[in-house]
């Protein structure tokens, strides 16, 4: 049966991508809040924020906004997975001779595609608002790779939420703390402007290292050791979430 894993995953991914194409508002909705935040921070609050360098504020802000975009996008993955479980189509798939893991992978790959699309929209708006970077192709690819890794890590968290939720609201509520995490990081203001304990939390939570790495890549600065901290966090979260999601899935289907 393992020979069918790729084919089955492809077919099921095509199915959920079609869901997104039929309701493209999910991609737009995902992009709207981050864009609103970006407008608010750049045109209303940004003038009062001292980022401690001559970098333009939108250049400073964009990495955090992209992470917020992804954090709100993955809520739809939990939502779609939950609906599959509720509606009975999940059981239909389980009772068919298909590779069982492909049901989850299809949702994960769909999440990746949808989030890359939302991120592209937000980057497009940022460019209109004056975001500029001289980043090389290599740096862009590195940014893309980090964002993909971030999406995968959060998507597997979303899978846990989708599999264990008992209500539609519960399926997406888990993403709210994730959306707020960037606010207590270096995403909007430098961490050294925060009071001691808050600054300590901000400096030692995963978002800050990811934001700093992406920001450095866009600004053509050396990423230093920050990228390893970021990769460590992301790979660690991904591995833990994946293991937990698979264990939960096994228990669910046996």
């Amino acid at each position: 049966m393992t020979t069918h894993v790729l084919a089955d995953t492809g077919v099921l991914t095509g199915r959920s991508l079609r869901h997104i194409l039929r309701s493209p508002d999910t991609i737009v909705t995902t992009a709207v809040t981050p864009i609103a935040l970006m407008l608010l921070f750049v045109y209303v609050l940004g003038g009062a924020i001292d980022i401690g360098s001559d970098q333009s504020y939108i250049d400073y802000l964009l990495p955090g906004i992209l992470l917020i975009t992804i954090a709100s996008g993955i809520a739809y993955t939990a939502y779609r997975l939950f609906l599959d479980l509720q509606g009975g189509i999940f059981e239909r798939f389980q009772s068919m001779p298909i590779a069982r893991s492909s049901v989850l992978w299809a949702h994960v790959l769909t999440s990746l595609v949808a989030n890359v699309a939302s991120v592209a929209i937000v980057v497009g708006v940022a460019l209109l608002m004056g975001f500029r970077t001289g980043a090389s192709l290599g740096a862009w690819l590195a940014v893309l790779a980090i964002l993909v890794l971030f999406t995968l890590a959060l998507t597997w968290l979303a899978v846990i939420a989708g599999l264990s939720a008992t209500t539609v609201d519960g399926a997406s509520a888990f993403s709210y703390p994730l959306i707020f995490l960037p606010f207590i990081s270096s995403a909007f203001v430098p961490t050294d402007s925060m009071p001691g304990p808050v600054a300590w939390f901000a400096e030692n939570q995963p978002v800050t290292s990811v934001v700093n790495t992406v920001r450095a890549l866009f600004a053509e600065q050396p990423v230093g050791s920050e990228i390893w901290v970021a990769l460590g966090w992301l790979v660690g979260i991904l591995a833990a979430a994946y293991a937990a999601a698979i264990a939960l899935y096994r228990r669910k289907i046996s």
Partner: protein
């Protein structure tokens, strides 16, 4: 019957925490026959069906489907059996045709489109084939659901309460479908809580009660369990179903039978 049983269940037990749902179920379904599994709500019908479809593991006992053991060869079982659950498991966002093509692809058929078209025709869904399933009526959804179960012609079909929640016309449509399936040689296990449904469709009827099969036989055999009927003269009142169907234009009654005349002496109401 023991050698050519398409479904063979021996001593199956299943508990949920303290609740002993199945307490040693034995059941055979002969190839190409329709067996109706009758039981009240909570009798364990769905639990048994889920074990046969490899969605649930039994605590004890064995079950084989089409010669494959559900515990040892779940992959082969899934290739042989198709389950239609109580709630129509169709993808609402996709059209009827896309739903069928999806299942055909997942069953790795050579020509998913042709399979889908043939099934749409067979279930009178061709006109609705390019509409989203969310726009379908209850009866159409259930027909699509059953059609999806037939993709790839699995030799064994399990229908778990296929007519629960359907209006009388849609029920009769489903009955047609089931009767036709069996004519085509498919083995059908049908669970139901409607006695008339079992009477209409089934070759054999098994009654699941308190976790075991308490009776299993043909309708005639089951009827012989009671003392011979007394002849009583009762004014024949049409049932509400007869009235409803006459008023809205009755679809052809199922044609396998001599049951076309209203059967059961109407219970006093």
């Amino acid at each position: 019957m023991s050698t050519d049983a398409a479904i063979r269940v021996r001593g199956i037990e299943k508990s949920y925490k303290d609740l002993h749902v199945l307490r040693g179920v034995d059941l055979d379904v002969a190839e190409g026959s329709i067996l109706a599994l009758l039981g009240s709500n909570g009798a364990g019908k769905t639990t048994l069906v889920r074990i046969l479809a490899t969605l649930l593991r039994a605590d004890a006992g064995t079950a084989t489907v089409h010669g494959f053991d559900v515990a040892d060869a779940p992959g082969d079982v899934r290739r042989s059996i198709s389950l239609t659950g109580q709630f129509a498991a169709v993808d609402d966002v996709l059209t009827g045709r896309e739903n069928l093509v999806l299942v055909a692809r997942l069953r790795h058929l050579a020509d998913p489109r042709t399979t889908a078209d043939a099934l749409l025709t067979r279930f009178s869904l061709t006109d609705a084939g390019d509409r989203k399933a969310s726009t379908y009526s209850g009866g159409m959804r259930r027909r699509l659901d059953i059609a999806m179960s037939l993709v790839g012609d699995p030799p064994v079909i399990v229908l778990d309460e296929p007519t629960t929640g359907l209006d009388p016309q849609a029920r009769i449509e489903v009955w047609h479908t089931v009767a036709e399936l069996a004519r085509g040689g498919t083995t059908v296990l049908l669970t139901t809580q409607y006695l008339d449904e079992a009477e209409q469709l089934a070759d054999r009827i098994a009654i699941l009660h308190k976790g075991t099969i308490i009776q299993n036989g043909t309708l005639a055999e089951l009827k012989r369990l009671l003392p011979p009927a007394e002849v009583e003269y009762v004014e024949k009142q049409p049932s509400l179903e007869d009235v409803f169907l006459a008023l809205v234009g009755e679809p052809d009654r199922i044609d396998t039978t001599d049951h076309t005349a209203p059967r059961t002496g109407q219970e006093p109401r």
